[in-house]
């Protein structure tokens, strides 16, 4: 489904040059749950941004469903963000002026499907927030905001969900709840790539890759872990 081939990302030049990713390659199958781990500054978020077309790479290829997406123009990338890939961020990144329901509706508004309010409220119900639909982000707890962000990611039914430390700002209990939501989504067939610091969270993934200094230093599958 997703193939990352020899991807490098270099910021700056000369003495300011920083190699964020160095010749990274990875294969993700449909329905995979991949956890990306590594110390701060190891290139985890850059890796996720490049997969989703939010950042451009310096060399290499990103192939989604057999199609290169790293060299696509802006409009084609917009199409991918509207259908195939969705994001969940550590900081939730909800629009503060909109209610929970409106935030979930936002991707549909941008696609011109602004009348699909029922779809948005159904998804909000799925993440257990139907009673909080009219609340603004500032009136919701961290866990609730992340659920709204997950609902927003789901509203376009993406095949791949990219999550950047989605439980990073939460207590253990809330983090677990969010994680179980991701597991459910994975079981329903959504592929998930999740950046996390937390080994406990990563344990739930089918595959763990560890990045260090922009390189994949280890790639462990669940079966191998069990053995």
């Amino acid at each position: 489904m997703l193939e990352i081939k020899n991807v490098s990302k270099i910021y700056g030049e000369g003495i300011t040059k920083v190699v964020a990713l160095n010749d990274v390659s990875l294969w993700v199958n449909r329905g995979d749950f991949v956890a990306v781990m590594g110390p701060s500054g190891s290139g985890k978020s850059t890796f996720l941004n490049i997969i989703g077309g939010l950042d451009c790479l310096s060399s290499g290829e990103v192939i989604l469903e057999g199609k290169r997406i790293d060299n696509l123009d802006e409009n084609a990338l917009v199409d991918i963000r509207r259908g195939e890939i969705a994001y969940v961020f550590q900081q939730y990144h909800l629009l503060p002026s909109l209610t929970a329901l409106e935030n979930v509706l936002l991707p549909l508004i941008l696609c011109g499907m602004d009348k699909e309010t029922k779809k948005a409220s159904d998804i909000l119900k799925r993440v257990g927030l139907e009673k909080r639909a009219g609340h603004k982000p500032s009136q919701l707890s961290g866990g609730e905001q992340q659920r709204v962000a997950i609902a927003r990611a789901l509203v376009n039914d993406p095949s791949l969900i990219l999550a950047d430390e989605p439980t990073g700002n939460m207590d253990r209990k809330t983090g677990r709840e969010i994680l179980s939501l991701f597991e459910q989504l994975n079981m329903e067939g959504h592929s998930i790539i999740m950046v996390t610091h937390n080994p406990e969270i990563a344990e739930h993934a089918g595959k763990i890759i560890v990045l260090q200094d922009g390189r994949i230093v280890s790639e462990i599958k669940q079966k191998e872990r069990k053995q």
Partner: protein, 396 residues
């Protein structure tokens, strides 16, 4: 929910910032509306003053003087045409004048509109002194000569009364109540006019019928002064129409004074509008600045929208919708502030001017303000689309 509703919600959340952005627009439109309102009030004042100059159309008999020559020998001058206008042409002249005014103003009123004041000039002798007697229509003349003030006595009301010009009264030693013999008819002086600085000072005014009867000129008029009702009345068109349709008369439009005065007002208006243009440009610059700040403040929101599927065009739309809201708010406030400005400084620029608010400037203010806001937003909006999503999150 549509994209513009989403923008409206965001504007409500950031209302202080939006009002601050609107301030630039308000300053620009306030200056324009203020200047236009003051100019309009000034023009109205000049028009009113012009009206006091009297007739804006004069109809005289069409007389041609021909120099008669036989080789190098001059045989004198031959006058062709009548010296008087027959009175029966008055209704015809009124019909043309009122018709053209109604046409220009789109009036359906059936009544008389223009003031048409016929005159008869007769040179005669009173106590051995030469006097110009002017026969006038009492009512129409008082409407034309709005600047006339009776110094002594009162305005004449009856057929056997006369009004004397200031200089004539002095030279001929006329006093109130004096009787002037007029070919057998005696008329009484009922009033003496204040000095006007015009020919009126040397003349004696009597009702036109009295003069016609006394000198056997029944049904004859020397000239007609016409004052149209409005400032924008088509006096030149009326003159042409009279000249083409009524034989024996010549109508002349009196526009020189009006043109000179209005020319000055127009020059002043242009200068003030140039100032307003500068204010608009400054306002525009202000909006560019605030919108650039707004883009910077909203990098995260722009990043979020891009990450969830907003295209560059949609980001531009978000800013343009916001600009339209700023324009509408700025237009309303600019109109109110501009009108208040006109009320405050209008009377200082055109002394004695009564400033009134001009409703037609309200839509103008809205359009102008929206235009400035949109133009000023194009560049910041374009900049917003250039922000990389990853950078927008990294910058937090």
């Amino acid at each position: 929910m549509k994209l513009y509703q989403l923008v409206a919600k965001d504007v409500v959340r950031r209302k202080r910032r939006v009002l601050y952005a609107a301030l630039g627009v308000v300053i620009g439109t306030m200056t324009v509306v203020g200047i236009l309102t003051i100019t309009l009030a000034g023009q109205a004042r000049v028009y009113n003053q012009l009206e006091k100059y009297g007739a804006n159309l004069t109809v005289i008999p069409a007389i041609s003087n021909l120099d008669m020559k036989l080789g190098d020998l001059s045989l004198g001058t031959l006058t062709v045409g009548e010296n008087y206008i027959p009175e029966e042409k008055l209704p015809e002249i009124r019909q043309i004048t009122d018709g053209k005014i109604k046409e220009a103003l789109r009036l359906k009123d059936q009544g008389d509109i223009a003031t048409i004041a016929p005159k008869l000039y007769v040179k005669t002798q009173v106590d051995g002194k030469s006097v110009i007697m002017v026969g006038v229509d009492l009512e129409e003349e008082s409407e034309i000569k709005t600047w006339w003030k009776v110094r002594v006595g009162e305005y004449f009301k009856q057929a056997d009364q006369a009004l004397v010009g200031a200089v004539a009264a002095e030279l001929l030693k006329f006093n109130m109540g004096d009787r002037i013999p007029l070919n057998g008819t005696d008329i009484t002086i009922t009033g003496v006019l204040e000095e006007t600085g015009s020919n009126d000072d040397y003349q004696v005014f009597v009702p036109i019928e009295t003069l016609q009867k006394a000198f056997g000129k029944e049904g004859l008029i020397s000239s007609i002064d016409i004052r149209a009702l409005c400032n924008a009345c088509p006096v030149e068109i009326i003159a042409d129409e009279i000249n083409q349709n009524i034989p024996g008369v010549r109508a002349v439009a009196v526009k020189q004074i009006a043109e000179t005065e209005m020319g000055m007002v127009e020059k002043m208006s242009k200068f003030m509008l140039a100032l307003a243009g500068v204010a608009l440009a400054l306002g525009c610059f202000g909006v560019v600045n605030t919108m650039m700040t707004s883009v910077h403040e909203r990098i995260k929101d722009i990043g979020i929208m891009r990450a969830v599927g907003a295209s560059r065009n949609q980001i531009i739309k978000v800013f343009i919708y916001e600009a339209i809201i700023i324009g509408i708010v700025g237009g309303i406030l600019g109109y109110v502030a501009g009108t208040l400005l006109a009320y405050a400084i209008g009377p200082l620029i055109f002394e004695g001017t009564v400033v009134t608010y001009v409703p037609k400037y309200f839509p103008l203010s809205l359009v102008l303000a929206t235009l400035i806001a949109v133009i000023a937003t194009v560049y910041p909006a374009f900049r917003a689309t250039r922000i990389k999503v990853a950078d927008s999150f990294r910058s937090l």
